[in-house]
């Protein structure tokens, strides 16, 4: 309510004039400080008595008289207390003083109507002489022509004890009431002669005065009555458009007075009803010009706020009042906030409409009047009046532009939230308020706060699937995630927005897609940290042990600005120190080097706002700090340093400074000359300082393998005379694939393109380990750049290059056994679990055939998963499935085309050799079936197929990639024998076993099978047999064994011998291993 002059709203109390003995005056003033207003009474100006004739046809300039209020508050007392000391040892002097005062009062009384109290404090009074004192007073009254109706004499003993004060108070109160009553009577007399149609301004004014006097008399019932009558009179004048603002303001004032008096009388229901009637009336008053709606909204918002404050003030005094919905103070704060929001929206629309006009005339507005500021002219004008705006509507709009809408709305919403949070069953109401609060945080660019709230609200709406309320929260969340560069949140939010349950229009859906892809994949996207000037991590240069314990983040909302624009600069401090740190000083320094601007020039950047001069950093709690400043000249800010002074008594004086540096180029252009096309990129200036040098020495393992992180040991040697600190930026030059560099500090891992270095002392060195990874076999250059800053803000950079030849981490050998048949098999599309491996590499061409039962051996240094082999057919090949060749595939070339690839997953661990028996597990590619008796024996051939080179051309740059073509092992097994004896048996029960002989080759084989005698079993079957097996034929031999003994007993050995063509024989070693079977006792004997 501080927008109203206090004379309009304060509860009036009688004004008392004090004169005479200063000590007595002071003691009276102290005692009755809250009950009366006091003024020093010296002289009084003549009072112009209003005659009834003068009021005939008189129309005042305004409704409430300002002079009249000022007069009653500060100038003319209704009671004058004249303090005197009556010394009985010097009666003549005392009498003379009193008589002089009485004659002065008599003179003043002729000019104005007031009452006098003559206060006599006796000194040296003889005891028991009260009759003498009575006589003295009678004498003084007669001599001074002081009649009883003019006032009274109060006599007090010398010590002036406390009980006598009540006499003074009752005398003052009595006289003041009498005077005010007389005034009311006089005013009522005027009322009868006034014209109710033409002089309603005067009638309203008189009724206001009566209310005022009644309030002074503490007659609140009548005061309410007079104010209500006055309100009605003013209400009837509402059609006078020329004084609409004044009428609305007077109605506001009267309503506040009435409501307050109801509350003082504890009539809360009446007070609230009165306000509701008033606000309903005010809301229906429409201004002529719809563009001035923001004024109405501002006024209504202000009235809700005033009422809420009034209610809060009075309810807090009265306990036991149940806050129902109409009585809940939160409701009025909420409504005040809603109207403030309407006002903000109306103003925003107008600002768009009148942007050009406003920018042309705005410089002429030397002063801006915000809402209700015209009330400050109230005493000068003698009435409230209409706001006098020289430039009219645009001036008001300009004032609205500068008004901090969001701050006010946020304040109101937070008050409403606070009041509602005490109420039961208000969970959803609080959520809806929170959503509005978050919206305001967003418009105030307090993104972290907004984000936190939106996440909370969105989760709530998501839970109950209230999509239409969830979508706005998600959109806001998307905005917050962009502003805070929170990539994960952004992706999550957009993906949620794109789910089909949200029935967006096609245009909206396309918009979300575009936002999504542009934010993630555009080179200048905020999420691409390489091109992210807004989100930069501060370097630190500190002189205290806490140097590594505070992180700072900062960003500009833009990288370019016009001169005289307000720039907002944000710092975000995070303390990792386990105790509270208080930073008592904060200072921002600008350094401009581009134009060699002198210090005088630097001072043209004025620091205009610092919201807080002290920062308290709690452990792990981020604190955001905001500055705004203006640049008066076009310039480039290349370095902004933030200096913090640490307030910690345990530190010595020299340890008290924290200084943070940031290299942050920021251009400021002249408004007239700037054209974006002329400044396509931001210039960065490197200044070489010979005295500040740093060497980078690197040591690393060579050669590194692709996909593997390998360490790069960096040593930074400082040859500077100063302490330096800076940024280390390692990067790949000519990267052909995905490359990344990680930085490992002693305490944590940071994956960042820029590494903040701690301070390096003069002539000292700093070691750091970087971990780099590349997924491309090639020769790469790693460039490590260091931009560093010395203590005197000089900046420079150095760089060092390392040439690295990345080699493939795996080697694949294709070994084969069999005939050498000229044919071509192609393998392509190898991929690994780390991503696509060979999809950009050339196809692997193996000039050897795969045979049935081939074995592909892969030797690797990394975990490797091969997911897809692709065999390209040609006319010389056919495809074989397993051990048999389906005729339909052999005879049908189309089916061969369709089945030309197989899918299988197998993985190989590093430094291990694993093999895939292709013929056994998978459908193999194309082999040529050969029948040849010449190569009958087992033969192993291993061959390295050499290297393959391929060139890429990117613009003018040619890269040559060498790729080792793997060799493969192909193992050909001509005969496979399978014998799988059972593991368990029972005495007396038959065991059936099968021996399968499989000819996998294209040759004829002659096999002999012989079973050794064994006493453990009764045996039925052929104990010795010779078998001829044709190519690709299977033979199965069945045996029956009946165990005789129980326990773990050995199976009979089976000897399988192959007779070769040259007469020799070959025993299959796998069959010579003994097999065991566990034989249970016969049934019924288990126990």
């Amino acid at each position: 309510m501080n927008i109203y002059p206090k004379e309009l709203l304060t509860h009036p109390i009688p004004l008392v004039g004090l004169t005479g003995n200063p000590e007595t005056q002071i003691s009276i003033q102290k005692k009755f400080e809250n009950k009366f207003n006091f003024v020093s009474f010296t002289d009084i100006r003549p009072h112009k008595r209003t005659s009834i004739q003068e009021l005939d046809n008189y129309i005042p300039g305004g409704i409430i008289s300002g002079n009249w209020l000022i007069k009653h508050f500060y100038t003319y007392p209704v009671v004058v207390v004249s303090c005197h000391q009556f010394d009985f040892l010097n009666t003549k002097k005392s009498e003379k003083d009193i008589l002089d005062q009485l004659s002065h009062l008599n003179e003043c009384l002729k000019l104005r109507n007031f009452k006098s109290i003559i206060l006599l404090v006796l000194q040296n009074a003889p005891s028991g002489f009260s009759e003498v004192i009575e006589e003295k007073i009678t004498f003084l009254k007669r001599k001074g022509d002081f009649e009883n109706k003019k006032g009274t004499f109060l006599i007090f003993p010398q010590n002036f004890p406390n009980p006598y004060y009540s006499r003074i108070e009752s005398a003052i109160r009595n006289y003041a009431n009498r005077i005010h009553k007389e005034e009311i009577r006089k005013i009522k007399k005027y009322q009868d002669i006034l014209n109710r149609k033409t002089q309603n301004t005067l009638i309203a004014r008189h009724l206001f005065k009566c209310g005022f006097y009644s309030e002074c008399r503490i007659d609140f019932k009548n005061a309410i009555k007079y104010y209500q009558k006055s309100y009605q009179e003013v209400k009837e004048m509402i059609n006078k458009k020329e004084m609409l603002t004044e009428i609305k303001t007077v109605l506001e004032v009267l309503n506040i007075k009435i409501t307050r008096l109801h509350f003082v009388n504890k009539n809360f229901v009446e007070g609230i009803e009165e306000f509701h009637k008033h606000i309903n009336f005010v809301r229906r008053i429409n201004s002529e010009d719809s563009e001035r709606d923001f004024e109405s909204y501002a006024s209504i918002s202000q009235q809700y706020l005033s009422f809420a404050e009034l209610l809060e003030e009075n309810i807090s005094r009265q306990s036991g009042i149940q806050p129902k919905i109409t009585k809940n103070i939160g409701l009025y704060y909420q409504l005040a906030a809603e109207y403030a929001m309407k006002r903000q929206r109306a103003v925003e629309e107008l600002l768009v409409k009148y942007e050009d006009q406003l920018s042309r005339v705005e410089k002429n507005f030397h002063t801006s009047q915000t809402f209700h500021m015209h009330l400050l002219d109230f005493p000068k004008l003698n009435f409230i009046g209409q706001p006098n705006l020289q430039f009219g509507f645009l001036q008001e709009l300009s004032a609205e532009k500068n008004f901090r809408h969001s701050s006010q709305i946020l304040h109101l919403l937070q008050k409403a939230y606070h009041h509602y949070s005490d109420q039961e069953n208000s969970e959803r109401l609080l959520i809806s308020l929170q959503s509005k609060i978050a919206q305001q945080h967003l418009s105030k660019a307090e993104y972290d706060l907004a984000k936190e709230k939106f996440i909370q609200i969105a989760s709530n709406f998501r839970k109950i699937q209230w999509d239409s309320l969830l979508i706005p929260q998600l959109l806001n969340l998307m905005e917050c995630s962009i502003q805070t560069a929170d990539q994960k949140l952004f992706v999550d939010t957009v993906l949620e927005l794109l789910i089909p349950e949200f029935k967006h229009s096609l245009a909206q859906r396309i918009e979300y897609h575009e936002k999504f892809f542009s934010a993630l994949y555009e080179p200048h996207s905020i999420f691409n940290k390489t091109f992210l000037p807004q989100e930069l991590i501060f370097e630190m240069k500190l002189d205290t042990p806490f140097y590594s314990l505070i992180e700072t983040r900062t960003h500009f909302t833009t990288t370019k600005a016009y001169q005289n624009d307000t720039l907002i600069y944000k710092c975000r401090f995070i303390s990792h120190f386990p105790r509270k740190i208080i930073c008592s000083q904060i200072e921002i320094l600008f350094n401009i080097q581009k134009f060699d601007i002198s210090l005088d020039r630097i001072q043209t950047l004025t620091h205009t706002e610092s919201e807080n001069s002290e920062i308290v950093l709690l452990p792990e709690q981020p604190k955001t700090f905001r500055f705004s400043f203006k640049a008066k000249t076009p310039s480039i800010i290349q370095c902004i340093s933030v200096k913090l002074g640490l307030q910690n008594t345990k530190l010595t004086e020299s340890e008290k400074n924290f200084v943070f540096f940031r290299w942050n180029p920021f251009e400021i252009f002249q408004k007239e000359s700037f054209h974006p096309a002329k400044h396509p990129s931001r210039p960065i200036v490197h200044i070489q300082r010979p005295r500040a040098q740093m060497e980078i020495v690197a040591k690393m393992q060579t050669p590194p393998f692709v996909f593997e992180y390998f360490p790069i040991h960096l040593r930074l040697l400082s040859h500077s005379d100063h302490i330096i600190s800076g940024n280390l930026i390692p990067k790949f030059i000519r990267p052909l694939g995905k490359c990344s560099i990680h930085y490992q500090s002693p305490t944590n891992n940071i994956n960042s393109t820029s590494i903040s270095l701690p301070e390096i002392l003069p002539q000292k060195e700093y070691s750091i380990v970087l971990f780099a990874k590349c997924n491309k076999e090639s020769e790469h250059v790693i460039r490590v750049c260091a931009d560093y800053t010395t203590a005197n803000l000089y900046q420079t950079s150095i760089q060092s290059d390392f040439v690295l030849d990345f080699q493939s981490p795996f080697k694949m050998d294709l070994k084969f056994f069999g005939t050498e048949i000229p044919s071509i098999t192609t393998i392509s599309r190898l991929s690994s679990s780390l991503g696509p491996v060979l999809n950009e590499t050339p196809s692997l061409i193996i000039n050897r055939p795969f045979f049935l039962d081939s074995c592909l051996v892969i030797d690797t240094h990394i975990p490797l998963k091969i997911s897809n082999f692709n065999f390209v057919p040609n006319s010389g090949f056919r495809k074989i499935f397993g051990n048999s060749i389906p005729d339909e595939i052999i005879n049908n070339p189309d089916l061969i085309q369709q089945n030309n690839c197989f899918s299988n997953l197998f993985s190989v661990l590093p430094s291990q050799e694993d093999s895939l028996q292709i013929g056994k597990f998978v459908e193999i590619g194309f082999v040529q079936i050969c029948f040849s008796r010449k190569l009958f024996s087992f033969q192993k051939i291993q061959e390295d197929l050499g290297q393959f080179a391929k060139e890429w051309k990117e613009e003018d740059f040619v890269t040559k990639l060498l790729f080792k073509i793997p060799s493969a092992v192909v193992i050909k097994k001509d005969v496979l024998i399978t014998f799988d004896p059972p593991q368990e048996a029972r005495v007396g029960e038959t065991l059936q076993c099968k021996l399968v002989i499989q000819n996998c080759s294209s040759f004829f084989h002659f096999i002999s099978v012989e079973i050794e005698k064994n006493e453990n079993f009764l045996f039925s079957g052929v104990s010795s047999i010779n078998v001829d097996i044709l190519p690709n034929e299977n033979k199965t031999i069945s045996y029956n064994f009946i165990p005789v003994f129980q326990g773990l007993i050995m199976f009979p050995l089976i000897k399988v011998t192959e007779f070769l063509e040259n007469g020799s024989s070959q025993v299959f070693p796998e069959m010579s291993k003994p097999n065991y079977v566990f034989v249970y006792p016969p049934l019924g004997l288990d126990n």
């Binding site: 069953n425 208000s426 959803r428 109950i464 699937q465 209230w466 239409s468 309320l469």
Partner: protein, 139 residues
């Protein structure tokens, strides 16, 4: 009575239908009013069921709360579906709002009896919406 919005809320307080002619920011504000009305529904339901001992459960919740220029009425079904009716601030008799809710309940039962409607999902039946519109225009 001038109906601003009709909201049908499921037993889990999930919206099944919010019918209003407003769009954009105004619609959002009205939805917030419907959402907030659930606080008042929850406040009234246990009190009513307690008084009437559940068998005589009174569905009509009456005036939930007045806002500055709107009045919000509530109704709850036996299956804990809640109907929220937002009216302008003109004087309305309780009989009229009660009658409206009963009729709304009838057409709602018809709508959820549709074998193609999955219980608990949003009501998108055009037939239901046209019935609702005609009900609104009659009142």
């Amino acid at each position: 009575m001038k109906i601003i919005c009709v909201g049908i809320i499921g037993p889990q307080n999930n919206p099944l239908l919010i019918h209003t002619d407003f769009s954009g920011e105004e619609r959002k504000n009205i939805e917030y009013i419907v959402y907030t009305a659930l606080d008042f529904c929850e406040e009234k339901i246990p009190a009513m069921s307690g008084n009437k001992k559940s068998s005589l459960f009174e569905s009509y919740l009456g005036l939930l709360f007045p806002t500055e220029d709107l009045r919000v009425y509530g109704y709850v079904t036996n299956t804990h579906h809640k109907y929220v009716l937002v009216l302008d601030d003109s004087d309305v008799k309780d009989v009229d709002t009660k009658k409206f809710f009963v009729q709304l309940h009838d057409i709602f039962i018809q709508a959820i009896s549709n074998p193609f409607y999955n219980y608990g999902e949003k009501i998108e039946s055009l037939n239901f919406i046209s019935n609702l519109k005609s009900l609104i225009s009659k009142s």
